[in-house]
Amino acid sequence: MGILQNVKNAVRQRSIHVAYVDVGSCNGCDIEILACLAPRYDIEQYGIYVHNNPREADILLVIGAYTPGWADRLLPLWEKIPDPKVAIAIGNCPISGCLFARPGTLIHPPVAAHIPISAEVPGCPPRPTEILQAVLALAPEVFRDYEVRVL
């Protein structure tokens, strides 16, 4: 532990790689995440990189209300992400199904029933600032002393 672990903690919270997966949303939350890339919000200044590649991601942003097309795809995708990893539900859809949770719908919310979700950002869609704050607040907590706690 000691110094090495402190270095790891410091580095991990300044270098977060993000993938996002859209499991059936209306695109609203999608483009609000894209807007976080804009120079105004500039998430790269906090060391967050949006790769959209699960194999090198630390944080998975889940958007959307879990449509049947994702039934056998979301869990394998989650398993491809190397540890330590967290998933954040962005928007109302993964939390409750938003407006689509009505009789006759095809979706199966919440996404937390299918993969473990660590944090939820409500709003339809949430503002880019809210998404940013959620990622920034969660990252140091989740990755702190990972080896000590888990291994």
Partner: protein, 202 residues
């Protein structure tokens, strides 16, 4: 040529202003503008339980009016609320506020008027009276009402007359759709008819 361009490169990057910016620059603080419609917040005015907010809300399970020690209060459920601001606009008492919605509605005299109409399909209605018994308005007026929907007074919202459900006082309806949920045949239907209006005194 090569050397000069390399020198220029070095000079460019040791400028004090560049170095200072490199280490200190941050984007402007990110503020939520006051005109953004956020989650509805209470204004402090008393709720009279008109339930217009619940009836107009387009999102399932987003708003409830609950009773607390000091009276009725609307509760917004995050994760369900879509921040459309219809509840703010529909509330007759201005209990909720969100962004500039309340201000703008007051300034231009706009309102959402909600009326309810109840349709009973007399073919499939079998006169069981479940709707009349379940109706919360009826229960308030006539707590003694029991199986069959036999009424003790004639100013109820719903009652059973000659084996069919009859809508007596449609104006008492507050649109909760409890009758719809309790009807075994799907014979009763409540429509929430919303109209976006504006007072013409401009």
């Amino acid at each position: 040529m090569m050397a000069s361009s390399f020198l220029w490169y070095l000079v460019e990057f040791i400028r004090p202003s560049w170095v200072r910016k490199f280490f200190t620059v941050r984007t402007a603080p990110l503020l939520t503008p006051p005109y953004f419609r956020g989650f509805p917040e209470p204004t402090g005015k008393a709720c009279t339980r008109a339930l217009r907010c619940m009836m107009v809300c387009p999102a399932p399970g987003a708003i409830d009016v609950v009773k607390e020690a000091d009276g009725w209060h609307p509760r917004i459920h995050r994760g369900h609320c879509i921040r459309c601001g219809l509840c703010v606009e529909a509330c007759p008492n201005g209990v909720l506020s969100s962004g500039r919605v309340l201000e703008s509605v007051t300034a231009s005299g706009t309102a959402l008027t909600l009326t309810f109409r109840i349709d009973v399909d007399t073919v499939s209605c079998m006169g069981c009276g479940n709707c009349a018994v379940a109706c919360p308005v009826n229960r308030g007026l006539d707590p003694q009402m029991a199986y069959g929907g036999r009424a003790s007074r004639d100013d109820l919202l719903l009652c059973v007359v000659e084996g069919k459900c009859k809508v007596v006082r449609e104006d008492r309806c507050n649109g909760c759709k409890t009758c719809e949920d309790h009807c075994p045949n799907g014979a009763i239907r409540v429509d929430r008819v919303l109209q976006a209006v504006q007072a013409v005194s401009l």
